[in-house]
């Protein structure tokens, strides 16, 4: 038998996966619907907040943050961006996108920072984690969109889940890197003065890794924003909508305006969070 006869002998991996996902959906869909709940609540809360706050309050909040952390020029840029978004008629979509981005980033931080700390302190854990992170960052979103929709139904929550999958790795990686960059002598000194492992983490490693963790958070925000359009494909609202609609109906102007708003919003969030990281 010729083991290189690829035409006759094939591994039916695709079928297995198909079967597995079908089986999951058939038997465990309810459980996945429960997992959905915390995300749904957080998102609804945020959306309600941004919908209720009058635009001038939102603009003021962002302007103050920009002023506080990033200086005059960023403040001016922030003001102009939000005014432009308002005049382009994209205010509501922008608020939806902001809620989604904030929601996914919060979940990424809550899961990612502890995972990053563990990876930073244990070579073995880092080794196990790394292929998963690689897969999360490189698997085309379209591949997991379908199973996500099958398990969690169409809508904003599925959009957020897909976003989390994609945006989680940088904060884990950069938290781990930050912990690893702390000089071993400092850890040794802390131990020599009777620090427990927890004290080493809290008093030495974590504060010194903070700039790196903030850089990770910034990356995670950027990546979350880059998922806005893809999330719109599975029914999440927000700024991805005009882009997707524009593409579907060949209304180039509409698509471009949506894209412009995403880019401007990304720049505002990037400058402000970078400013926080430097403080």
């Amino acid at each position: 038998m010729n083991i290189f006869n690829f035409d006759e002998q094939q591994i039916p991996l695709d079928e297995w996966i198909q079967t597995f996902v079908d089986w999951l959906v058939a038997n465990y869909r309810d459980i996945f619907q429960i997992i959905k709940a915390p995300i749904e609540w957080s998102l609804n809360g945020l959306e309600w907040l941004f919908a209720t706050l009058p635009p001038w309050v939102v603009i003021l909040l962002f302007a103050v943050a920009a002023w506080r952390f990033a200086g005059k020029r960023v403040t001016l840029f922030t003001l102009l961006t939000f005014l432009l978004i308002g005049y382009l008629g994209l205010w509501e979509d922008t608020m939806t996108t902001l809620s989604m981005v904030i929601c996914s980033v919060v979940f990424c931080a809550v899961a990612g920072i502890p995972l990053g700390i563990m990876a930073g302190r244990s070579d073995r854990f880092e080794m196990i984690l790394r292929p998963f992170l690689d897969a999360m960052q490189t698997t085309p979103a379209f591949v997991y969109l379908v199973p996500v929709v099958m398990l969690f139904s169409i809508g904003t929550v599925s959009g957020i889940l897909a976003t989390i999958v994609f945006a989680l790795p940088p904060i884990i990686r950069l938290t781990s890197l930050g912990i690893r960059q702390v000089h071993p002598e400092l850890v040794e000194a802390a131990l020599a003065f009777g620090a427990t492992n927890w004290q080493v983490l809290r008093k030495v490693q974590f504060p010194l890794a903070m700039p790196s963790i903030m850089a990770g958070l910034n990356q995670t925000i950027m990546m979350a924003l880059s998922m806005v359009v893809i999330a719109a494909l599975i029914g999440a609202g927000g700024l991805g909508n005009p882009v997707v609609q524009g593409l579907n109906t060949l209304e180039i102007g509409m698509a471009t305006v949506g894209g412009l708003a995403i880019v401007l919003l990304a720049m505002v969030l990037d400058r402000i969070t970078q400013g926080i990281g430097k403080k």
Binding site: H183, E185, E188, A192, F193, G194
Partner: protein, 413 residues
């Protein structure tokens, strides 16, 4: 010095790498550290080290780079876990402590100063000095008071609110020292604490350490690869080579009786007259004449002639030094009228004694300028012995042999 040791280490081993058991067996078969590394990629960090450190002394561990100094000092507080062997502090076995006991021991009893300072860059000078107390859960007010006191001891109280990066190297290490002192430990471990400082600052820091030590005696384990430093501050020195402790003793003992060529090579280029004192080399081989029992110059002369000596060292019944007489001066006194025939009249003018703590360098002019051996007294003025030109030269000659030894000398930076 205390009889019970403050710190005792017994048969301590540290073997780094993948095959510690095999390395141990090979070591017992007599293979060298290098051969073992070739065979097993396993490094012998410390092998079979045993010694004792007494309370209140500055114990210096010396050796070339890679000889295991840092490893041995880190096994004292178990920053490095020994492969085998025991460490005792105050008769408590450190090596059998559990995590919690160990943490308590590090907080209360033993602190450390590092070559690279290892100050926390995100904390102020005051917070750094208070670090050990903070780990111990002492409230902010108390710990900052104590930290400030420690900073005062090293003269840095004015810099309490600065960040470490704003300070010079010497000042940073003062903060490191203050951090070590703030917890008021009985034992201070210093791993090449002054090696990163330039020579002038280094000497200044050594003086600072000696000053602090004079005020409050702690047991200090000081790592150094600088012989001058070791001689300057060490009460006793241990010399390490390739993970072994080859010799332990006072600087004088080691200088006079180096255990092997390695130790000898270490002392190459050291000027012994700076290190050896009169007390180290004086010999009690001269004739002493006790004045109290009313000995006459005649009897004294008899004694000198009988012992075939030209000079006699006159002491009282408690061995307090009185003067030196010679056969010539005694004969001259015997010629005099009866009343003047006393031993004090025969004292050689200019025969001043020296003291046991004087360095060889300091007594050289006196040894050289008189024909008689120089009398050496202890601090109470009692006669210890004498140093002849011959003896002085012999001592120099012996250390010259050390200097001309065939071994490549260690780099003393």
């Amino acid at each position: 010095m205390d009889v019970t040791p403050k710190i005792a280490i017994k048969n301590l081993f540290k073997i780094f790498g993948p095959q510690p058991k095999k390395a141990r067996t090979l070591l017992e078969q007599g293979l060298s550290k290098e051969e073992i590394f070739e065979l097993t990629e396993t490094t012998i960090g410390v092998q079979n080290a045993s010694f004792e450190i007494y309370a209140g002394e500055i114990f210096v561990i010396m050796g070339l780079s890679g000889s295991g100094k840092s490893t041995i000092v880190r096994m004292l507080n178990r920053l490095i876990e020994p492969t085998s062997g025991q460490v005792f502090v105050d008769n408590e076995e450190i090596t059998s402590m559990n995590r919690g006991q160990l943490v308590q021991m590090r907080r209360k009893k033993m602190s450390m100063v590092f070559q690279s300072f290892a100050l926390m860059p995100h904390m102020s000078v005051l917070q750094n000095a208070a670090f050990g107390l903070e780990m111990d859960g002492i409230d902010r007010k108390t710990r900052e008071e104590r930290a400030l006191k420690a900073l005062e001891q090293v003269g840095l109280e004015a810099w309490a609110e600065s960040m470490p990066a704003e300070l010079s190297g010497g000042m940073q290490q003062r903060v490191g020292l203050a951090r070590g002192l703030a917890t008021d430990p009985e034992v201070l471990l210093m791993d090449e604490a002054f090696s990163a400082l330039d020579p002038l600052i280094r000497t200044e820091m050594q003086d600072e350490l000696l000053r602090l030590q004079a005020r409050q005696k702690r047991t200090i384990v000081f790592i150094s690869h600088d012989l001058d430093e070791a001689m300057r501050i060490g009460d006793r020195i241990a010399i390490m080579e390739g993970g072994r402790v080859v010799q332990v003793g006072t600087p004088e003992e080691i200088l006079q009786n180096p255990a092997d060529d390695y130790v000898r090579a270490f002392f190459r280029g050291v000027d012994p007259t700076n290190i050896l004192t009169a007390g180290d080399i004086a010999l009690d081989s001269q004739v002493t004449i006790v004045i109290a029992d009313g000995k006459s110059p005649r009897a004294a002369l008899q004694r000198l002639i009988k012992n075939d000596r030209d000079y006699g060292y006159v002491v009282d019944s408690e061995r307090h030094f009185k003067g030196i007489v010679s056969t010539d001066s005694l004969r001259e006194v015997i010629e005099r009228p009866e009343v003047d025939q006393t031993i004090p009249n025969a004292y050689l003018p200019g025969a001043k004694p020296a003291f046991s703590g004087d360095y060889m360098q300091d007594i050289l002019p006196q040894v050289a300028s008189h024909p008689w051996p120089l009398a050496i007294l202890d601090d109470d003025g009692k006669y210890l012995g004498a140093i002849s030109k011959n003896l002085f030269l012999r001592t120099l000659h012996r250390s010259e042999q050390v200097e001309n030894g065939t071994l490549e000398g260690p780099a003393t930076k």
